[in-house]
């Protein structure tokens, strides 16, 4: 196996929404700066945006103020958000959307040129090609894009991140990329929990199945401080195909009904605000209806007319083509039959919720030389795609500023050899644990002991302690992973990353002894929200020498 060494100024790990935007931003601000984008798949269709997108859900419409926007996010997250981060995002939202429109994204507009609103903070886009548009803008810059190179670890000498290691899936090469600064933008983590679809449908997930938490895991392994992993995300979606309910509920104004046809939010959950309740209460109400025996629940699409139905289908083709297949039979037509909804398995994301790196307002992580943007960055929920672009802009600006006059650091041969041996190890073994076995074991542990879908997302201490014990055993077995080809090696590396992430997640779930966000974090043994004690961030730092996860609390800041 050959070693490919590349020197650059700024390395971007992950060529998704945030990574692409960061590359373009660096070029705009400093055209001479050398940039490398390390991308696991191909940047034209990778990450969360691979399928496309039909709405941008973070936008500041006329009549909204930055303060009202921040207050909305704070309310949705029961008082715990990094207001400094969310504020910085809100101020940049409209600029980045304008930038992406200039790149080529079609956006629905009024005759006067203003964007049409689709809900209070949302605009409707024709985003089937949003990812190719971003990628092609990157391809016009001198940035060097390494497609099909999977990041495995940061190059870290104990004081500073000075690059990253990667594995080339196509060429089988080991990559050593030295950089003055690294922006991590790998997205969140799916596949931690047993998925709601199994067998041949096991990858019909809400979130990109190949966002396996590599960025979290790489940060964890060098002791970067992480925040709010316990703030898991569970999406309320069209059952089985994961189509966004917002497209129907907001776009077509359909109501949520239970099996008896009742508007259950208004009938039974008025105390949470009925139809105006928080996102996680909407999910909890749907879970409760199921438990009580009034499920399944639906979005009532039977009131749609033919024009609205067609428009709805067009919106879904831009984002989630699967649902069109589901509807392509008379019995399943949405005007004839309401659309069944349910919760997905839990995911870890910093874009809908706030699991991720603990960062300062300029997007520096706690490790010098390492910056975070997008889903992998914590503390700023509901940033979605446009907020990720703003974060990419801020991280790029900071990285450029911080690296002025800096030179590259040397990488020790020994460190290269060690990482190369770690990465290649499963390929050297003739027999052992397969990636599928490891994945299924992890997902079973998390589902049953750490509040997966089969447990209605509920948690309590004794089960979590069992999850902790079982995950430690599983981690110790990972040295026995064995694979036969490069594709499977990537699967094996994903398993290792996911286990590192899951262990941190479980510690966060154990630590917060209250119920802060229903379903996302429901503690049966501490069922109340306790503002007198828990209006704090729960953070963690992994110690690679002792294999211990150290927990800490950080106060809310203004």
């Amino acid at each position: 196996m050959s070693v490919i060494s590349i020197d650059t100024d700024i390395l971007i790990v992950g060529g998704g929404a945030a990574g692409c935007f960061a590359a373009v931003e660096i070029y705009k601000k400093s055209p001479g700066c050398r940039v490398v984008v390390m991308e696991k798949a191909h940047i034209e269709r990778s990450g969360c945006l691979a399928m496309g997108l039909n709405a941008i859900n973070a936008y500041l419409h006329a009549g909204q103020t930055p303060d009202s926007y921040v207050a909305y996010v704070e309310r949705q997250f029961e008082g715990i958000i990094r207001k400094d981060l969310v504020s910085s995002i809100v101020l940049g939202l409209n600029d980045v959307v304008k930038d992406v429109e200039k790149m080529g994204l079609p956006i629905e507009k009024h005759e006067d040129g203003t964007y049409k609103t689709r809900g209070k903070r949302s605009i409707r886009i024709f985003g089937e090609r949003l990812k190719p548009i971003l990628a092609q803008t990157v391809q016009k810059t001198p940035a060097r894009v390494l497609n099909r190179v999977v990041a495995t670890n940061f190059i870290y000498d104990g004081t500073r991140v000075c690059g990253a290691f990667g594995f080339g899936v196509r060429d089988g090469s080991f990559y050593v990329i030295r950089a003055k600064a690294v922006i991590v933008a790998t997205g969140g983590a799916s596949g931690i929990y047993k998925p709601h679809n199994t067998g041949e449908a096991r990858h019909l997930l809400w979130y990109c199945p190949w966002n396996a938490g590599a960025g979290y895991a790489m940060g964890i392994r060098i002791g970067a401080e992480m925040t709010s992993f316990e703030n898991r995300f569970i999406a309320l979606r069209v059952k089985d195909v994961n189509a966004p309910t917002g497209t129907i509920a907001v776009g077509a104004r359909s109501k949520q009904i239970n099996a008896h046809g009742e508007d259950y939010l208004e009938c039974y959950y008025k105390h949470w605000g009925g139809n105006r309740c928080l996102t996680h209460h909407r999910l909890l109400a749907t879970v409760q209806e199921k438990k009580i025996g009034r499920g399944p629940c639906y979005l009532d699409t039977t009131t749609l007319n033919e024009v609205e139905e067609r428009r709805l289908k067009e919106d879904f083709l831009n984002m989630n083509p699967q649902i069109i297949l589901l509807w392509a039979t008379k019995e399943m037509n949405p005007r004839r039959r309401p659309v069944e909804i349910c919760g997905t398995e839990p995911f870890l994301v910093g874009g809908h919720c706030q699991a991720g790196y603990w960062i300062d307002k300029d997007r520096r992580t706690t490790i010098p030389g390492l910056y975070a943007a997008g889903e992998v960055a914590g503390g700023a929920p509901k940033k979605y795609v446009s907020g990720s672009w703003v974060e990419a802009r801020i991280a790029a600006t900071t990285a450029l500023e911080d690296t002025k006059g800096m030179s590259l650091m040397n990488t020790e041969e020994e460190a290269i050899g060690r990482e190369r041996a770690r990465v290649l190890h499963p390929l050297t073994r003739k027999a052992g644990i397969s990636p599928a076995e490891a994945r299924e074991r992890l997902q079973k542990i998390m589902d049953e002991y750490a509040g997966g879908i089969s447990m209605d997302y509920e948690l309590h201490e004794e089960r979590l302690l069992e999850a902790r014990r079982l995950l430690k055993c599983l981690k110790d077995r990972m040295k026995d992973l064995a694979v036969a080809n490069n594709y499977s090696l990537v699967e094996a590396l994903e398993c290792v990353d996911r286990i590192d992430v899951a262990r941190v997640l479980v510690e966060h779930l154990i630590y917060r002894k209250e119920t802060r966000w229903a379903c996302y974090q429901t503690r049966l043994d501490y069922p109340e929200k306790d503002n007198s004690r828990w209006l704090v961030f729960v953070n963690s730092t992994y110690n690679p020498r002792t294999d211990e996860i150290l927990m800490a609390e950080r106060p809310l800041c203004s």
């Binding site: 798949a41 191909h42 034209e44 269709r45 990778s46 990450g47 691979a50 399928m51 790149m103 080529g104 994204l105 079609p106 024709f126 089937e128 090609r129 190719p132 548009i133 092609q136 803008t137 099909r148 899936v169 679809n197 067998g199 041949e200 449908a201 096991r202 990858h203 019909l204 997930l205 990109c208 199945p209 190949w210 089985d240 195909v241 067609r310 289908k313 067009e314 083709l317 831009n318 083509p321 699967q322 069109i324 297949l325 589901l326 392509a328 039979t329 008379k330 399943m332 594709y487 990537v490």
Partner: protein, 109 residues
Amino acid sequence: MSISIDETICNGCKGLPEARCERICPGDLCYRKENTKAAIRDQSACWTCGCCVKECPVQAIELRLPFQICSNGSSLKARLKPDKTIWTVWDAEGRPEEFIIQAKWLKGD
């Protein structure tokens, strides 16, 4: 089954270093077989994102849902034009329905 590749239509993107579906699949699932036709290595790993369907210039690939999710046999194909995407969905009875949606392509068709 999540995608179905029609070998009578697929030309394996002859002359290119990789088949287009192989180049684009976000999960690295498509590859070229020895007979130069494209194939998917693991149906259960497919996200059903449709990227390969959109990328295929001869419309050899169709999107389907795994049988456990949907047993009606419907399928979906796409043709990408510089200013629009043309989708065709075949319903349970094999009747096609077409959708033309505005889009923008920066490179040539």
